[in-house]
C-alpha cells in the first residue's frame, strides 16, 4: 500500500488496455467455428451412444440416461467456478482486461450449467429416490453454488463502470472460492448428521464400460460446449464494451 497517498500509474497505459481486447478478437476468432464443429460432433456421437448404443440400467432402467447430462453439468458447475477464480486472479494480479471479460462471461454460463445439474438431478431423483428434492450433501451444496453464481450475475448487472466492477467482483469470486470448500464440508457434516443412512448409493464405482463410453464422450461434449460458449460470449462482451466506449465518445463530442 502506498501510504504517501500518491500512486504510481498502472503498468499498462490506458490505450494499451483498450488495444489488447482487439488482439484477442483477432487471435481467437478463427477458433470459434472449429470449436462449434467439434462440440457438435461430440454431441452427435455422445447422444447416439447415450440413446441407442448403451444398455438401460438393470435397476434404474432408462432413467440412467439422465446421467449423461447430469454428471457433465455437475462437473461443469465446479469447473466454471474454477475458471472464474483463475480469471479473478488474472484481474487482480496482472490487471488483464481479458480476465475481466472472461469472469463476466463465465458467471451466467456457470449459473445455467449449475441449474441444469440441479434440474437433471431432481429429474433423476424422482424415479430413483422417489422424490424430486432430497437434502443430500451434493444437491445442497450445488444449490448453494447456484446462489453464489446468481449473486455474481446480479453483482455484475448492478455496476455501471465495468472496470471497477471487475476488480471488486474478482475479490468476491476469490473469497467465494475460499469459502466453497468450507461450505461443502459444513453441508456434508450437516447431511450425514441428519441422515445417517445415505440414500446416495445408486451410482457406485462399479459402472460397466457400456455406460462409461457415452459418459466419457458427453463429458467432453459439455466441456467443449462451455469453452465455445465462453469464447463467444467473451467476443460479444468485448464488442459490447467497444460500442459503449464509442457511444460515450460520441455523446461527449456532441456536448463539446
Amino acid at each position: 500500500m502506498n501510504s504517501d497517498g500518491i500512486n504510481d500509474a498502472p503498468k499498462m497505459s490506458w490505450w494499451n488496455r483498450l488495444a489488447h481486447p482487439g488482439q484477442f478478437l483477432i487471435w481467437t476468432r478463427p477458433l470459434v467455428w472449429p470449436l462449434v464443429a467439434l462440440t457438435a460432433a461430440l454431441f452427435a456421437i455422445g447422444l447416439w451412444f447415450a440413446f441407442f448404443n448403451s444398455p438401460a440400467d438393470y435397476q434404474m432402467g432408462d432413467t440412467v440416461r439422465i446421467m449423461y447430462v447430469h454428471v457433465p453439468t455437475a462437473w461443469l458447475s465446479q469447473f466454471v467456478y474454477g475458471t472464474m477464480a483463475v480469471s479473478a486472479l488474472g484481474t487482480l494480479v496482472w490487471r488483464h482486461p481479458m480476465a475481466d471479460v472472461s469472469m463476466k462471461a463465465a458467471a451466467p454460463l456457470g449459473a445455467v450449467f449449475t441449474a441444469l445439474a440441479l434440474f437433471t438431478g431432481s429429474m433423476w431423483g424422482r424415479p430413483t429416490w422417489g422424490t424430486f428434492w432430497e437434502w443430500d450433501g451434493r444437491m445442497t451444496s450445488t444449490l448453494i453454488l447456484l446462489f453464489l453464481y446468481l449473486g455474481l450475475v446480479a453483482l455484475w448487472r448492478a455496476f455501471d463502470d465495468q472496470l471497477r466492477a471487475a476488480r471488486v467482483i474478482a475479490i468476491f469470486t476469490l473469497v467465494g472460492a475460499v469459502n466453497v470448500p468450507i461450505i461443502k464440508f459444513s453441508v456434508d457434516w450437516w447431511s450425514t448428521l441428519h441422515q445417517p443412512a445415505s440414500v446416495f448409493t445408486a451410482e457406485g464405482p462399479k459402472m460397466p464400460g457400456s455406460l462409461l463410453t457415452p459418459l466419457f464422450v458427453m463429458f467432453f461434449a459439455f466441456t467443449f460446449l462451455f469453452i465455445t460458449l465462453q469464447l463467444v460470449s467473451m467476443h460479444t462482451e468485448v464488442r459490447r464494451r467497444r460500442v459503449m466506449t464509442l457511444e460515450r465518445k460520441l455523446a461527449r463530442g456532441d456536448a463539446a
Binding site: 453454488l145 449473486g151 448492478a158 455496476f159 469459502n179 461450505i183 448428521l193
Partner: protein, 221 residues
C-alpha cells in the same frame, strides 16, 4: 490505533445517540421469532424442538437487515474518502467497523434472545447452548456482513445485494451454529460444531477487514 478507537467510538456513539435503529433491529428479531408459532402452530413440543433454528434464523435476518447502513452513509457523506487517507490503514478502520457492527447489531440480539427462548418454550440447557453458539457464531456473520457491505458500497442501488451475496457464505455459520445447539449426533458432534464455529468466526474476523479494504480501495477508484 487511535484511528481504530476513534471509528469504534464514533459508530457506537451514532448507534446509541438515538434514531432507535438498534431498538428496531431487536424488535425485528423478536417479531420474527414470535411470528413462528402462527406459522407452524402452537405445539409446544414442536416449538421447543425448532426454537434454536428459529432464533438463529431471526438473528441471521436481523444482521443482514442492517448491512446497508454499515458503510453507505459513510460513503454518501464523504467519510469513506477520509478513511482512505487516514493515518490508520483502511483494514484497521474496517476491523473497527466489524466490531462496531457486532456490538450494535449482534449483542443486542443476544441480550434479547432469552425472551424468545422463553416464549418458544426452550429448556434451560438448550437455552445456554444457544447463547453460547450465538456468541461464538455472530462475529462471523458480522465479518461476512462487513465484507458484503464493502463489496456493494460502490453500487448505487446495492441495498438488497449484500444480503444476497453474503447468505451463501453464511451457510456454514448457520449449520455449525444450530449443530452446536441441537446435538443430533450426540455431545461429541455438538462440541465439534462449537469449535468449528469459533474457528470460522476467528478466521472471518481476521481476514474480512483486509478483503473489505481491498474491495473499497479498488471499487472506489
Amino acid at each position: 490505533m487511535s484511528g481504530f478507537l476513534a471509528v469504534l467510538r464514533r459508530d457506537l456513539r451514532l448507534a446509541l445517540s438515538g434514531g432507535g435503529e438498534m431498538l428496531t433491529l431487536v424488535l425485528f428479531f423478536i417479531i420474527v421469532g414470535a411470528i413462528t408459532p402462527f406459522a407452524v402452530g402452537p405445539d409446544r413440543a414442536l416449538l421447543a424442538r425448532i426454537a434454536p433454528g428459529v432464533i438463529w434464523i431471526a438473528a441471521f435476518l436481523a444482521m443482514l437487515l442492517g448491512l446497508d447502513r454499515l458503510l453507505r452513509p459513510d460513503r454518501d457523506d464523504g467519510t469513506l474518502a477520509l478513511y482512505r487517507r487516514a493515518d490508520a490503514p483502511l483494514a484497521a478502520v474496517l476491523f473497527a467497523k466489524v466490531i462496531a457492527h457486532w456490538l450494535t447489531s449482534a449483542l443486542p440480539l443476544i441480550l434479547a434472545a432469552p425472551f424468545l427462548a422463553l416464549i418458544l418454550g426452550m429448556d434451560m440447557e438448550a437455552f445456554w447452548r444457544t447463547l453460547l453458539s450465538l456468541l461464538l457464531g455472530t462475529p462471523a456473520l458480522a465479518a461476512f456482513g462487513t465484507f458484503g457491505a464493502a463489496i456493494t458500497v460502490a453500487v448505487r442501488r446495492g441495498g438488497l445485494l449484500a444480503p444476497i451475496l453474503i447468505a451463501p457464505l453464511c451457510v456454514p455459520v448457520l449449520i455449525f451454529g444450530v449443530g452446536a445447539i441441537a446435538p443430533l449426533g450426540g455431545p461429541d458432534q455438538a462440541s465439534a460444531a462449537l469449535l468449528l464455529l469459533a474457528a470460522l468466526s476467528l478466521m472471518a474476523t481476521a481476514l474480512s477487514p483486509f478483503a473489505a479494504a481491498l474491495a473499497i480501495d479498488w471499487g472506489e477508484e
